[in-house]
Subunit: 412 residues, 2 copies
């Protein structure tokens, strides 16, 4: 029988009533002839409660014990969903990460899945005709036999990795939205749901700020070519509506030049004024930042007004901004900059589309349109299938709407 992985997030399992609704979705797919593995998150709010207790108990924050406490949330949901399925006459059993096992690295709190042994789950399908209800977000580091977690949103990753391990036909990610949109509908009411989007585009969109899926889960889907369907868990289980299929580029018939517009407020700008313009200067700045584990994103270099020095602008994640400034000030003597100027009220707006590969001048069109609206571009980065501009955050909505219209993404 074909296999299906279905994943339900925290809001979809927030109460026992909603868990029953999830069970109805599962039963529909069972009735349609699938062997089903369901991956569940903790009941919405539970993880925050558990994390709050951990923080209260210890400022030292041993990630091993953090994982023990937090992984309990998914354990509860998996048992309850198995029970709700049984109540509907569907055979089901729960699986914790250590039981399957889902083997991970030792990186407690943000472990990476190394391998999944699907044998037990597949035996459950063939021998017992039972649904596997799998606790998402968690695994085991086998050498130490300790519980690990994958970090926030890790249940998406659990689901896609499991789909690859049991060679599922598809991985359905049920969420509180009905798919992937051309951009954030809260900003652009004319945003459209995409029927299909390629792995590559989805990866860029997730990396550049679209919150519907975790970056890591899209990477895994792309690597293992797991067709991944984003859809709503709040639909009537008897009449499910359409969502967005993340799939191979070749499986998408009509391809737009630009598929979506993303934005991220999680960027802070740092400008170093009057840096000595000599070889090796970039290394003296970016090596210490890399050693401090700070990701530098956009970089722009312009000649200063005095022509013997240069001004260097780059962005870092907002969360690392204070730390980045401290690192740079520590190394001021080597770098020899005159002044450090920072800005956290900036936003990165990006346009993504595999069509950019074959169309020239796509970005240039955007620069002109933004300039026409009086929006100043602080920095630019481009790659094969996307470009990003850094602008003042006050212009976020205007910029996103402008680009959304510019590339013909507005709903008819």
């Amino acid at each position: 029988m074909p296999r299906l992985v279905m994943k339900f997030g925290g809001t979809s399992v927030a109460t026992v009533d909603r868990i029953r609704n999830v069970a109805r979705h599962v039963k529909r797919e069972i009735d349609a002839g699938y062997d089903v593995a369901v991956v569940v998150s903790a009941m919405s709010g539970k993880t925050n409660e558990l994390v709050g207790w951990v923080r209260d108990a210890s400022s030292l924050y041993d990630a091993k014990e953090y994982d023990v406490v937090v992984a309990s949330g998914e354990q509860v949901t998996s048992g309850l969903l198995a029970l709700a399925l049984q109540e509907m006459g569907v055979k089901a059993r729960s699986w914790q990460g250590w039981q399957i096992p889902i083997m991970t690295s030792e990186g407690h709190g943000s472990a990476r899945i190394a391998a999944i042994d699907g044998t037990g789950i597949l035996q459950g399908f063939t021998q017992n005709k039972e649904v596997a209800v799998v606790s998402g977000f968690q695994g085991i580091h086998q050498p130490t036999q300790r519980i690990t977690t994958l970090g926030r949103g890790g249940s998406d990753t659990s689901a896609v990795a499991l789909a690859a391990a049991i060679q599922a036909e598809r991985c359905d990610i049920y969420t509180d939205v009905d798919g992937v949109y051309t951009t954030d509908p809260r900003i652009v009411p004319k945003a459209r749901r995409l029927d299909k989007v390629s792995y590559e585009e989805m990866l860029e969109m997730a990396s550049l700020g679209a919150k519907v899926l975790q970056v890591r889960s899209v990477e895994l889907a792309m690597m293992h070519r797991v067709p991944t369907y984003v859809r709503s868990s709040f639909d009537d289980p008897a009449e499910p509506k359409l969502g967005t299929l993340i799939c191979d580029e070749e499986d998408i018939m009509e391809q737009q030049v630009v598929t979506g517009i993303a934005y991220s407020r999680d960027e802070a700008q740092i400008t170093l004024r009057n840096v000595a313009d000599k070889p090796g200067i970039a290394a003296s700045i970016f090596v210490p930042l890399a050693e401090a584990n700070i990701n530098v994103d956009m970089i722009i270099q312009v000649v200063s007004d005095d022509t013997t020095t240069t001004d260097l602008t780059f962005t870092v994640p907002t969360a690392d901004y204070d730390r980045a400034c401290a690192v740079l000030n520590e190394h001021k003597a080597e770098i020899q900059f005159k002044d450090l100027q920072g800005a956290t009220d900036v936003v990165k707006v990006s346009a993504i589309g595999v069509g950019m590969r074959s169309h020239a001048g796509v970005a240039a069109k955007a620069f002109k349109a933004l300039a026409d609206k009086g929006i100043n571009i602080r920095a630019i980065t481009t790659s094969e299938i996307k470009f990003s501009v850094l602008i003042d955050s006050a212009y976020t909505e205007l910029a996103v709407r402008t680009l959304h219209s510019l590339y013909g993404l507005d709903q008819a």
Copy 2:
């Protein structure tokens, strides 16, 4: 170094603040030179919440999934206590039942501990100098690799079994009372805390209604001769007060004839009137009840008024009363009784003391004292170190107080 097991129940770990207080108790014993394993229950109220969800999710009640959901409560506490200890500079790690492992029978929901492998915990003591924080109440059925629970109050049992497995010098049970009393202080304000009580007496007291310890844990303590100390977790950790040591009879210097008075409202009386007085009649009544898994406790048989039949009175647990009546009525034809009369407003009052072995007439004294107060005795059972009387529940307090004074247990 000598080893100590400390056990804290749900009210002692109800909040992160209280968990910190528990950590202080543990640190005191570490500073005193012990290697410590701590067994914890779920935060008070959590187990009820989880059980409520299970009941809501399914009326079918798969005990395997019940165990998955409910065992999560102890997992949370174990992680939080490990963190709180670390915060105080005490090395600690959590252990779930499946990690140790605590191997149990397959009786999900009320599994019995078969064996405990203490190797990992002992290695933690010697190699890492770390406290083992153990989730109580849970274990693993190894052939299926499924999580099991020991049933309500099972954490006491976990603690005593662990103490036996790691050959601890003592098992300290921290609870919301400061020890074992001569009787329930809510009924008899003159009740006294016992400094010591023998395993045998404690087993009878727990079986006969004293709620301070689970029967199974006392059985284990007696079987493995684990000195078990019942004490308060709400004392100032810096100045702990005395509790009650459950130990060998030989270690108790001054032995009273009667050590304690217990009572249990968990009894229901059934009287079958005019049963044919012929051989095999007892079997026709008690075999069907045994097959329905109903424990019959006190049995009394008297000749009926018509002299050719007999009246048979016995007690069953209140929870099984309705079921027992149904079983008996089903078998009415074989048993040939005329009438079934039941009473649930009865109570069993018991006096316990190893001194009864060497003193005659202890029970007789009680029958007279109760009769003098106008209390009618419905049934009597006696054994080597205790006797019990079944009376109308309206007389509970009067009977307990009367016996407590009669045997010289009142506080000076």
